[in-house]
């Protein structure tokens, strides 16, 4: 059953995330495994994640959520990532994570600290809606202080407006 869950999630990821696959920082989306369509659909609660899935599961390996300019709304394309990490938090109550909120360089530094936190909080809420609990999630905003890309361009800015999921306990 666990495999089914993972396959279903992988399928969801592959369809939902194709458009933003190039923006994902951690790992490219794994080549889709053949989905066994003969199996009946099951609810996601039945297969529980284990710590090893953080390194192997194609959804859990994605740890970055991206945002629009001056916005903290969760994009539709991020739902799959938040669903699997939320489920992981629920499956592993001893696990914990820090959400590092970031902004692009436009606008003032202190305002961007606020914006990074707002993005972290929005991500935290989405993870809680997917099964995580508040006690497992710590939000830290770095504002615009830790860009992953240092050019002043739309492409770079879109990579810097992000929340990074960092597991502090598996």
């Amino acid at each position: 059953m666990k495999n089914t869950t993972r396959l279903l999630l992988a399928a969801l990821v592959c369809t939902g995330m194709v458009a933003c696959a190039k923006k994902v920082k951690e790992e490219p989306v794994a080549p889709s495994e053949p989905v066994d369509t003969t199996q009946t659909q099951t609810t996601t609660t039945e297969g529980a994640y284990g710590p090893e899935d953080l390194d192997t599961d194609s959804c859990l390996r994605q740890r970055v959520v991206y945002f629009d300019y001056d916005r903290a709304d969760i994009r539709a394309e991020s739902q799959a990532i938040l669903a699997c990490h939320g489920k992981y938090l629920r499956d592993r109550p001893s696990s914990a994570m820090t959400l590092e909120g970031h902004a692009d360089e436009r606008g003032t530094r202190e305002y961007n600290l606020g914006l990074g936190e707002r993005r972290g909080n929005a991500t935290s809420q989405a993870l809680q809606a997917n099964g995580g609990s508040a006690g497992q999630i710590n939000v830290v905003s770095y504002g615009e202080e830790r860009p992953t890309c240092s050019e002043s361009s739309d492409d770079c800015w879109s990579k810097n407006r992000r929340v990074e999921i960092v597991y502090t306990a598996k």
Binding site: D70, E105, R106, G107, T108, R109, E110, Y111, L113, G114, L115, E117, R118, N121, V139, V140, S141, Y142, G143, E145, R146, S150, E151, S152
Partner: protein, 435 residues
């Protein structure tokens, strides 16, 4: 005009031998209506070797930077009097100079110097100022800035702000080897000194009103925390390290309180901490981002950034709490206020989308005030007024690095201060220094 100013600047740089790690200053535009003043090279009447610092060049560069004066380029100075008795006024009349400064460096006790100078009115052929300033052997630049301040005040009736300092943040290296530093330098970028160095981000330096301490934000504990550090001793303490954001520290004008942004309630709000008791009072209560509080000079109010209306705008609120009143109405994005000493002029980062510039709102005429753009860049931010309100420092992006600019508040002269290596940002101009 532009050319002669840049020549003067080149000469200035050549004469004083700028070390590569120091801030280099380029004047990017000039002010043709500035008052012409000739600062004649000071005579060296010392027993030993003449001092290395070219005092007259430091003074002249200060004047050029102010936008109010135009120093006569060194190559146009054809006579070299060092005291008023030797001055031939017709020469300076022909050169169209309004004022003339002559002086000499003498030995004082214990290896120190005594700099005597005279400010002369060329048209009236008379002395306006005749003074002497003492200088430690390693601080002739400081003495030169003090002389520039005295002359500036005598002519303009406004206290000079050349003998002041600037604080700023630098970032060098990339990735794992990235280093941040909080620096302090003279107002012209010379004598940079490291106040604190960190592998984690540093931001938002703010001067105590006595100019002896800096409040700033550091991430060295893994989250933002506010520190206050004594500049001369390096001793420091954490004053705020709550859950969430600890940011935007700002000393009250009397130094007894620190305004700050804390998000321990769930989102960023303005608080005021009484520094003696460390007790905090929450000033704003709104689900929006409230941050970047600055004190009005009377200590009665705070001007801060809030996006409660959708986009960031400036608001004012009593420092004891109350209902915020919106201050800025033109421009999509107005943030990070810096108030001039008069409380009437507010500099800010103004913009939207991909363009951010420095604008000044002048509230002296009443109503919602008059807004004027002062900088031409694309990503200009962090304005900071000089303590006399005559100039504004700000941060700009050039390529993928940050640089600092100083612009005269009248917009006439803008100049760049570039660190040889890395990214420079978040300038904060010090208060006046006590003589």
């Amino acid at each position: 005009m532009m050319r002669s100013l840049s020549l003067a600047c080149l000469l200035f740089v050549a004469l004083t031998g700028v070390a590569s790690a120091q801030l280099k200053i380029d004047i990017t535009n000039g002010n043709p209506s500035a008052t012409p003043i000739a600062v004649v090279p000071f005579g060296a009447e010392t027993a030993g070797l003449p001092p290395e610092t070219d005092v007259a060049a430091v003074i002249s560069a200060d004047f050029n930077r102010s936008g109010q004066f135009r120093g006569l380029p060194r190559q146009d100075i054809v006579e070299l009097p060092t005291r008023s008795a030797d001055v031939k006024y017709p020469t300076w009349n022909v050169l169209k100079q309004d004022y003339l400064v002559v002086g000499r460096v003498l030995d004082a006790e214990g290896g120190a110097y005594r700099i005597e100078f005279e400010l002369l009115d060329v048209a009236k052929q008379s002395a306006l100022l005749r003074l002497a300033v003492g200088a430690r052997p390693n601080d002739l630049r400081g003495a030169a800035h003090q002389i520039a301040d005295l002359i500036y005040e005598k002519i303009l009736n406004v206290r000079g702000a050349f003998w002041t300092r600037i604080a700023y943040i630098t970032s060098t290296g990339t990735g794992q080897s990235r280093q941040y530093a909080l620096m302090v330098a003279d107002s012209d970028g010379y004598n940079p000194q490291t106040v604190v160095r960190s592998r984690e981000p540093l931001l938002s330096p703010n001067w105590s009103p006595d100019g002896k301490r800096l409040a700033y934000v550091s991430f060295e504990r893994g989250n933002s925390s506010i520190y206050i550090q004594e500049i001369s001793t390096g001793s420091r303490q954490v004053v705020a390290s709550y859950k969430g954001i600890n940011g935007a520290p700002a000393f009250s004008p009397d130094g007894s309180r620190l305004a700050m942004t804390l998000s321990m309630s769930g989102n960023p709000e303005i608080y005021v901490m009484d520094l003696a008791s460390r007790r905090t009072t929450q000033i704003t209560r709104h689900f929006s981002i409230d941050t970047e509080a600055q004190w009005t000079p009377d200590g009665q109010n705070l001007v801060f950034t809030s996006d409660r209306a959708g986009k960031p705008q400036l608001y004012q609120v009593p420092a004891s709490g109350g209902d915020p009143v919106r201050v800025t109405f033109s421009g999509e994005y107005n943030a990070k206020a810096s108030l001039a000493f008069d409380g009437k002029r507010i500099a800010m980062a103004q913009g939207g989308g991909n363009v951010y510039r420095i604008a000044v709102l002048d509230r002296s005429l009443g109503g919602s005030g008059e807004m004027r753009t002062l900088s031409p860049g694309n990503l200009d931010e962090s304005p900071s007024f000089a303590p006399n309100g005559s100039m504004i420092l700000y941060a700009a992006r050039e390529g993928s690095r940050g640089v600092l600019y100083a612009v005269s508040t009248n917009g006439a002269v803008r100049q760049r201060l570039v660190l040889a290596d890395g990214d420079v940002r978040e300038p904060a101009w010090s208060p006046f220094r006590q003589r």
